[in-house]
């Protein structure tokens, strides 16, 4: 702020002062544009996923047929004995791990260690791709072996398949977009595109990635445990 502007704004007290601080001109708060935008987008996206999950709870209550026992449907057998939820556990583990590598990438980005940043983002993307791969496996097993379809399934309420494919599909789409986005950022990091512009972009991509992970935790809880 220019000196004159400061003089004109003799600080107010109490509540008014708080408001003045929060509404100060933008020099007071350095938030990169892209970061502010990503945060807003993520809040908006949160509303989308919340609506999906509320919809899920709602149809689960309104449907007249019994809800399938999810832990049995999602079981995988190794050597004969079915282990409930094992695939999902692995998927979750992979995704959480990717959040770790992402966080490290952000850190190395700010330290301007381009090689490490590049490889760590690549690792994150790889974990993401693995996750999507396992999801494809899960879907094909559900569709092929168990006969679950969006409009019906042999286990009970048709809504089970509908909502499952819709929500995990929507989440999978997010992960897929995230993988592409990460690869793009990684390439640009490597090519030195951000050398004099700064590495906020890694953090911004990271925000998105952590969000997608967080959403998965909720989907996991709502679909597999509930």
């Amino acid at each position: 702020m220019s000196e004159a502007a400061v003089a004109a704004n003799s600080p107010a007290e109490g509540m008014d002062g708080l408001v003045d601080d929060w509404s100060a001109d933008k020099q007071a708060y350095h938030v990169p544009w892209g970061k502010a935008m990503m945060w807003l987008f993520l809040v908006s996206d949160t509303f989308i996923f919340s609506c999906f999950l509320v919809g899920y709870l709602n149809v689960r209550m309104t449907t007249t047929e019994p809800w399938p026992v999810q832990s049995e449907i999602f079981a995988l057998s190794f050597g004969g004995a079915p282990i409930p939820l094992i695939l999902i556990a692995i998927m979750t583990f992979v995704l959480i791990t990717s959040s770790g590598t992402m966080a490290m990438a952000v850190n190395y980005g700010y330290r301007r260690d381009k090689t490490k940043t590049f490889w760590l983002i690549c690792a994150t993307a790889l974990f993401g791709a693995m996750f999507v791969g396992m999801q494809v496996f899960e879907w094909s097993k559900l569709i092929g072996d168990e006969g679950v379809r969006p409009w019906g399934n042999p286990f009970g309420a048709a809504q089970f398949g509908s909502i499952f494919f819709m929500v995990t599909g929507f989440h999978g789409l997010h992960v897929t977009c995230g993988v592409i986005y990460l690869m793009w950022v990684a390439l640009r990091v490597k090519r030195g595109y951000y050398d004099d512009k700064g590495f906020e972009i890694v953090e911004i991509a990271g925000l998105y990635w952590h969000f997608v992970d967080l959403v998965w935790v909720f989907i996991f809880a709502f679909f597999y445990l509930l």
């Binding site: 003045d20 933008k26 938030v31 544009w33 809504q159 951000y194």
Partner: protein, 596 residues
């Protein structure tokens, strides 16, 4: 997402400099051009919406006088009219049109933060309009389920457009939401992070506040509509049953079971109610600035106006079920939603008082924009009062789904925002075009529109009391509706045709003045806010020439005692003119302070 420069390095913002006519006016990244594109597309769809309304009014006023208006066409026309007007016309025009034009100029910015994404937004919007219009040409025509698209109605054989029509409608809505999200993120971040030096949030003109909060509402409310649209698409295309209960149609059960139509209503209105404020808040903002400028007085209670906008925005998310009183709900919920609904009336009324008090003892210049702005105060009070009736469960039950509701929301969401649109277009016309419009024509346009609107909607309240239901192709003979209701309907239709034709005055004026209007002098209304202080009129690409402005005061320094003129532009340093910043300011009392 492209590379992001730091906010404080915005002088280095990468501007896209156009090299050819096409880059300048078609694939433009200039927020002003994009605003005009957004606005033109919105107005074009609006004209279609208006034409549809004249057609179905013909049926209501003079039943079966027009050959091609059969029940199917009637339902399709009302449905498309509603959706077009609410979403593709008003929302797009306020956010995409005025948001784009005003935010960077009023914030002292060169453009939106991400001009490329802004450009994508307008083209995506055009795509959504094309998809919507395509539904007129597919087999079965557009959907006729009413603009609220309630299932299972949408999917029943008897509903026109139950196959392709509804699918295109839903896809178009989804595409529209993508467009609004891209635009909205841009508007919000520009307001937050691209204000020029000295421009604190509490110095922003109310226009920016209104559009800003409306944008936030859009970002948080449209997701519910998106989810509803996706689920309904699944129901229609994949045969799922999210919203479809077991239904028997023409003796045979449909292939659905166990879904929840109420879920759709909740999702729809969780979007739908904030949506009415997505339209109303920018209108509130724009009209505040028009009133203040032409009354040569600061807006009364600026801070309270800001808080009221924020409060309305917040509350609008917890009132949605007042649209569902007749759908049935636990009385406690009815109580809750009635209470929150009535609480929203408090900040709304506060705004109305402040507008009136802004006029109080003002040095009012009755220019054409001011006519529309004052007209808005009338129509808005009117519509707001009927809202209070409908907000109470017991009063709403008999009135719901009658013409009373139609009258309510057309006064409050139809006529009022449109009057503001006209006020705003006339007010900022010199800025956008560099020319003045024809004052007499504009005033004629006002009187025809304003009085015509009353001739249309006032009788509808009465029809509603009589119990005339909405969404009926024809009333026919009933025991409880007197035959004279039909005469009223006929008169409404005649008024509607008048008003529709009167809009020609507006278009003629705007287009004629582009070429033959008087050249506008700089800042013709003597406005204090920043958008009029650009070096060029109309502003060039990049808005501010070589240097970004610095702001020293709020946007409402009108009639400040001791100042050289009766307004002080926001970028006038206090060493040149006295400052009277932010607090309620009464020239009589503050005279001593202003003598500095």
């Amino acid at each position: 997402m492209a590379y992001v420069p730091l906010a404080d390095q915005d002088k280095e913002m990468e501007m896209h400099h156009p090299h050819s006519w096409v880059e300048k006016y078609v694939w433009s990244q200039d927020h002003k051009v994009i605003a005009i594109q957004y606005g033109s597309i919105a107005v074009f769809t609006g004209i279609i919406g208006l034409t549809l309304s004249v057609l179905f009014r013909l049926q209501l006023g003079f039943p079966e006088s027009v050959d091609f208006i059969d029940p199917n066409f009637y339902y399709q026309a009302v449905t498309m009219h509603g959706m077009i007007m609410v979403v593709y016309f008003l929302t797009a025009l306020f956010l995409g049109g005025f948001g784009n034009y005003m935010i960077p100029l009023m914030c002292g910015a060169r453009d939106m933060v991400f001009p490329f994404m802004n450009m994508l937004s307008v083209w995506t919007f055009l795509l959504s309009v094309i998809i919507l219009m395509a539904s007129f040409f597919v087999g079965g025509g557009p959907t006729g389920a009413g603009w609220t698209l309630y299932p299972p109605q949408t999917a029943m054989e008897g509903t026109p457009g139950h196959d392709m029509g509804i699918v295109l409608m839903l896809i178009s809505l989804a595409v529209f939401i993508v467009a609004t999200t891209m635009g909205g993120l841009n508007y919000a971040v520009t307001v937050l992070q691209y204000r020029c030096r000295g421009l604190t949030m509490m110095r922003l003109p109310l226009t920016v506040w209104g559009i800003f909060v409306a944008t936030i509402l859009a970002l948080f409310a449209f997701p519910a509509l998106l989810v509803a649209a996706i689920m309904m698409l699944f129901d229609t295309l994949l045969g799922t049953s999210f919203f479809m209960p077991a239904v028997i149609e023409a003796g045979a059960p449909l292939d659905h079971n166990g879904g929840s139509p109420l879920l759709f209503q909740h999702l729809f209105w969780f979007f739908g109610h904030p949506e009415v404020y997505i339209v109303a808040l920018p209108a509130f903002g724009l009209v505040s600035d028009v009133l203040s400028t032409h009354a040569r007085k600061n807006i009364f209670g600026y801070r309270m106006m800001v808080w009221a906008i924020i409060a309305i925005g917040g509350l609008s998310f917890i009132v949605w079920a007042h649209h569902m009183y007749v759908s049935g709900m636990h009385p406690y919920f009815g109580f809750f939603f009635a209470t929150t609904t009535l609480i929203i009336a408090v900040p709304t009324a506060l705004k109305v008082y402040n507008w009136v008090l802004t006029l109080w003892e003002g040095d009012i210049r009755l220019n054409a924009p001011m006519y529309f702005a004052i007209g808005f105060i009338f129509t808005f009070i009117h519509g707001g009062l009927t809202g209070l009736f409908l907000g109470n469960v017991v009063i709403d039950l008999p009135l719901s789904d009658t013409y009373f509701v139609i009258a309510h929301f057309h006064m409050v969401m139809g006529v009022s925002p449109i009057l503001v649109l006209f006020a705003a277009i006339y007010h900022w016309y010199p800025l956008m075009s560099g020319r003045m419009f024809h004052e007499g024509l504009a005033k004629a346009h006002f009187w025809l529109t304003f009085l015509g609107a009353y001739a249309i909607y006032l009788p509808m309240h009465y029809l509603g009391f009589l119990g005339v239901p909405r969404r009926y192709y024809q009333i026919g003979a009933t025991d409880f509706i007197p035959a004279s209701a039909q005469d009223l309907n006929a008169s409404i239709t005649i008024a509607a045709i008048f008003v529709a034709v009167a809009q020609l005055l507006f278009f003629v004026n705007i287009i004629w003045s582009l070429k033959y209007g008087k050249k506008a002098e700089k800042n013709p209304w003597g406005s204090a806010s920043l958008e009029w202080q650009t070096p060029d009129l109309p502003p060039k690409h990049g808005n501010w020439g070589d240097e970004l402005p610095t702001v020293y005061r709020w946007a409402y320094d009108y009639s400040v005692p001791g100042a050289h003129e009766d307004f002080i532009p926001q970028n006038t340093p206090e060493t040149v003119e006295p400052t009277v910043d932010e607090e309620h300011f009464d020239p009589d009392q503050d005279a001593s302070k202003a003598d500095i």
